[in-house]
């Protein structure tokens, strides 16, 4: 800890390092930020930008950047404040971490912080005629009445350039040239798996560029959380990536438990783990189904869904719901598992294990499937790190399909082991911590918790001022990063591959549009 303290002050004398918190916190003025960022990346090996959290500290705007060192897995966060509250500006780090492209656009969209040097400074989720920036504390919701006309000027973008004297000017640009053959996919389209839209520029059947248009189902969960208490907030975690409902909720619970210093009983941890793995299994089954269906193999889709039913029945019996189970709670889980839980899980494991072989027979070895999937949409290791692609999509690099199939096998193994352990614990036991405060007040400060959800690293950032409600909540969702590589992976592939690639990246739209 002290080591990093010295290293950073050596790199940048203006930076202040605070090592008292959970992770080292570096505070740096905007003028030195870009140089420090480059040094952090090249010299200290912080090669992954995990999250960019826009902030409104009422006296100033700014960002909190979470950086990960992939060799030591150390986390570092950097707080950068804008000098000017009237015209908030920060230096963009897109040139260092390409993942910042969409992350910074999101911050611009919600906080109005302009990133100097960003190549494509458009709004990410909201309409381009939106008035004001909704996550600012002084935002007035009445300034945006319901609009009945289409937005215009979709093809225009701009960027902000700084010259040698530090003077910042706005430069207009275009997303697509006038003579490009742009085909629209979505927002209502069979294979976008939700309300998602791409605009693809084609040359014959070859894709030249993909522009992702997002935000059709954005609900502003982060803004809503600011007016909710912590137990209330849990509800929304399940409505982001609904295929990782348990896992997201688990993450949020862990973050709050960490802040409160709560100890979770072992049995509750075990139950949570089993639910997480069941969720992952169900998510991968869905992913298998969708990937196969998007390539035209409709039958395989039904097979995937048939097995998912087993898992949903297990959820139904223990949690009382098939989706949005609301099972984890701060301190443990809501209720103990159903008496047949272990039996059901073992049965589901057996059936899925057997049927996985059938999947391979039906689809994996199929010559058409192999030809459709090999060499398509390759994501190199460097790109996966640069774009912070985690989970199966990042782990795979090439064969995202097979990684999910293998992960399912591992899920089954984990579940079987957990079944044995839970059995040893007995049918019933302590499933929730005994002393959970009724009124939860997190001490002032900020916390960050990451878990691996079905689609990659899911992170929760909570900043509290000591009240029952948080000042800022940010969810770092894996799918948001996944859409960042759509253009990269689809380029120079065919229009049919766009569908294969997006299906193999396997994003869930509500997780992008939080």
């Amino acid at each position: 800890m002290a080591e990093i303290d010295n290293k950073i002050t050596q790199l940048c004398p203006q930076a202040q390092v605070d090592t008292t918190g959970e992770f080292p916190l570096v505070t740096v003025p905007d003028a030195q930020w870009h140089d420090l960022a480059r040094a952090l990346k090249t010299q200290l090996h912080y090669d992954v930008l995990s999250a960019v959290v826009g902030m409104d500290w009422t006296d100033a705007y700014g960002c909190v950047y979470y950086l990960t060192n992939t060799s030591t897995h150390e986390l570092l966060h950097v707080k950068v404040t804008c000098a000017d509250r009237e015209n908030p500006r920060l230096h963009s780090v897109v040139d260092l971490w390409p993942v910042a492209n969409f992350q910074e656009r999101e911050v611009y969209d919600f906080y109005g912080i302009v990133f100097v040097g960003h190549p494509d400074m458009r709004r990410m989720f909201l309409r381009n005629d939106w008035v004001g920036y909704p996550l600012r504390k002084d935002y007035d919701p009445a300034s945006n009445p319901l609009r009945l006309e289409d937005e215009t000027g979709e093809d225009y973008t701009c960027r902000w350039v700084e010259d040698e004297n530090g003077k910042v000017t706005k430069v207009d640009g275009k997303v697509f040239e006038d003579d490009e053959y742009v085909i629209n996919v979505g927002p209502q389209h069979p294979s976008t798996h939700g309300v998602m839209r791409y605009r693809a520029s084609l040359d014959g059947e070859i894709i030249k560029k993909v522009d992702v248009v997002s935000g059709y189902i954005h609900r502003g969960i982060e803004k809503m959380c600011e007016s909710l208490t912590y137990p209330q907030m849990l509800l929304y975690t399940e409505r982001m990536d609904y295929m990782a409902a348990h896992i997201n909720r688990h993450c949020m619970c862990m973050c709050v438990e960490k802040a409160l210093g709560l100890e979770v009983p072992r049995r509750a941890e075990l139950i949570r783990l089993m639910m997480d793995e069941l969720m992952r299994l169900s998510s991968h089954l869905l992913s298998y189904g969708c990937l196969t269906m998007d390539q035209g193999a409709t039958t395989a889709f039904f097979y995937g869904f048939r097995e998912r039913e087993l898992i949903y029945d297990i959820f139904d019996r223990t949690c009382g719901a098939r989706m949005s189970m609301s099972y984890s709670t701060i301190g443990g889980v809501v209720a103990d598992v159903h008496e047949d839980f272990i039996k059901d899980v073992r049965h589901a494991c057996d059936v899925i294990e057997k049927n996985l072989k059938e999947y391979h027979k039906l689809f994996t070895g199929n010559v058409i499937a192999v030809n459709r999937m090999t060499g398509v949409g390759i994501l190199t290791k460097e790109d996966a790190i640069a774009y912070d692609i985690t989970g199966p999509s990042g782990r795979a690099r090439m064969d995202r399909y097979m990684v999910r199939m293998k992960e399912m096998e591992q899920c089954i193994k984990i579940l079987r082991q957990a079944c044995d352990k839970l059995e040893a614990e007995g049918i019933q036991g302590e499933y929730c911590a005994p002393k959970v405060p009724k009124v939860m007040k997190l001490p002032a400060g900020h916390w960050y918790q990451q878990v691996e959800a079905s689609r990659g690293a899911f992170g929760v950032y909570i900043e509290s001022d000591g009240n029952t409600k948080p000042v800022r909540v940010h969810f770092q969702s894996p799918c948001f990063n996944l859409i960042g590589v759509v253009d990269l992976t689809c380029k120079d592939n065919m229009i049919a591959d766009l569908i294969t690639i997006t299906a193999s990246l396997d994003f869930v739209i509500p997780d992008i549009d939080r």
Binding site: Y181, I183, N184, H189, P190, S191, E205, T292, M293, D294, Q295, G296, A297, T298, T299, A300, F302, Y303, R306, L362, F363, N366, I368, A369, N371, R372, M494, I495, A496, D497, L498, I499
Partner: protein, 360 residues
């Protein structure tokens, strides 16, 4: 085996005895046309039901079950619904071509449909170039699809139509070559002639390896010509929403849909005609009793039974395989199917001239 020629000749004689020749010919034409249209729609309705049930069975589902017993009336309900739908015409489209396209597709499949040998003596016209005629008229369909894609003035339909054009023209070749292989074996292009030549053994069994190879090539190429999975790129609903017929509604869409199912029946029928002996019963040389029992089954049942069986294979393929990509689809045809087909044709010619086939 009952010869339906007796019935048709009897009707012909009856009409000729009471009216002049031109009138009886006209009446016969009308009768045949009405009969064909009714049969056409009935087979389409049956095929839609058949596909739904087979697809359901393959996918561990039941298929339609609510309307009528086992969902038997579901397709009728769908047809009534589609007839009531509004025909939407779009702005900035070529309205004449837009409306013409579905009829072209329908006409092509009707013309081919009329050539099938339904049973002994049940054939509309027995031309001496029957097979040639089938190949010729079935290609009109691609014109309708191209027109539909072009006239809709939409990017999806245009891509769909272009894919379809490339696909159908390519696979037409393989299809034609495998048909030629059998014509070579039969020594005639007449449909009746081809069926009769299979009296003592279906061509699939008679023609050694080349006939089996031609059958496989025909099955692949016919599947592609039909725009059915795994060659359903022109519609590719996951990429192009619905391909060339994205912008069609109501019965105009219905015509495409109808033609697609009828084409499925037609290619199965042609496969039956060329490889499985048309309406000929299964005869095993030497087994007189068995052959007599087989003869007892009406020829129409034989023909339909074989066609439905081939269709089942098509459905099985469709619901098992993922879709190919356009470049892979073209590579399959031009790099593999066509060269193999050509070599196969030469081998078949050698076999025929040397008399090496069974029952020579």
């Amino acid at each position: 085996m009952f010869d339906f020629g007796i019935v048709t000749r009897w009707i012909d004689d009856l009409l000729n005895s009471v009216m002049p020749g031109w009138l009886s010919t006209t009446i016969e034409c009308v009768l045949v046309a009405v009969g064909l249209l009714v049969l056409y729609s009935l087979i389409a309705i049956f095929y839609i039901f058949y596909e739904r049930k087979v697809c359901g069975w393959i996918q561990c589902r039941l298929g339609p079950m609510r309307v009528g017993k086992w969902g038997l009336l579901q397709v009728f309900a769908d047809v009534i619904k589609i007839l009531q739908k509004e025909l939407i015409t779009l702005w900035n489209t070529d309205k004449f071509l837009f409306k013409l396209a579905p009829y072209l597709v329908l006409i092509a499949s009707m013309l081919t449909f009329a050539c099938l040998p339904w049973g002994k003596g049940l054939q509309i016209i027995d031309m001496n170039i029957g097979v040639f005629f089938i190949v010729a008229v079935s290609s009109i369909g691609v014109l309708g699809i191209l027109l539909a894609g072009w006239a809709s003035n939409s990017k999806y339909t245009l891509i769909g139509a272009m894919r379809s054009g490339a696909q159908m023209i390519s696979y037409e070749l393989s299809c034609g070559i495998s048909i030629l292989t059998i014509v070579c074996l039969a020594g005639t292009m007449s449909i009746t002639g081809i069926v009769e030549a299979q009296q003592d053994g279906w061509f699939l069994f008679k023609g050694h390896l080349p006939a089996i190879l031609a059958f496989i090539i025909y099955m692949i190429a016919a599947n592609a010509e039909n725009n059915r999975g795994p060659f359903d790129l022109p519609e590719a609903e996951h990429e192009l929403t619905a391909g060339y017929h994205t912008e069609y509604s109501g019965i105009h869409f219905g015509f495409f849909y109808l033609a697609e199912y009828l084409n499925l029946f037609i290619v199965s029928g042609i496969a039956t005609l060329l490889f499985l002996g048309g309406w000929m019963p299964l005869h095993i040389p030497g087994w007189e009793g068995f052959n007599a029992v087989m003869d007892w089954i009406p020829s129409v049942v034989w023909f339909l039974g074989k066609a439905f069986f081939i269709t089942f294979i098509f459905m099985w393929i469709r619901w098992s395989f993922p879709r190919v990509r356009i470049d892979q689809m073209l590579a399959l045809e031009w790099r593999y199917l066509m060269p193999i087909g050509l070599v196969n044709l030469v081998v078949m010619a050698i076999i025929v001239t040397q008399g090496w086939y069974f029952g020579a």
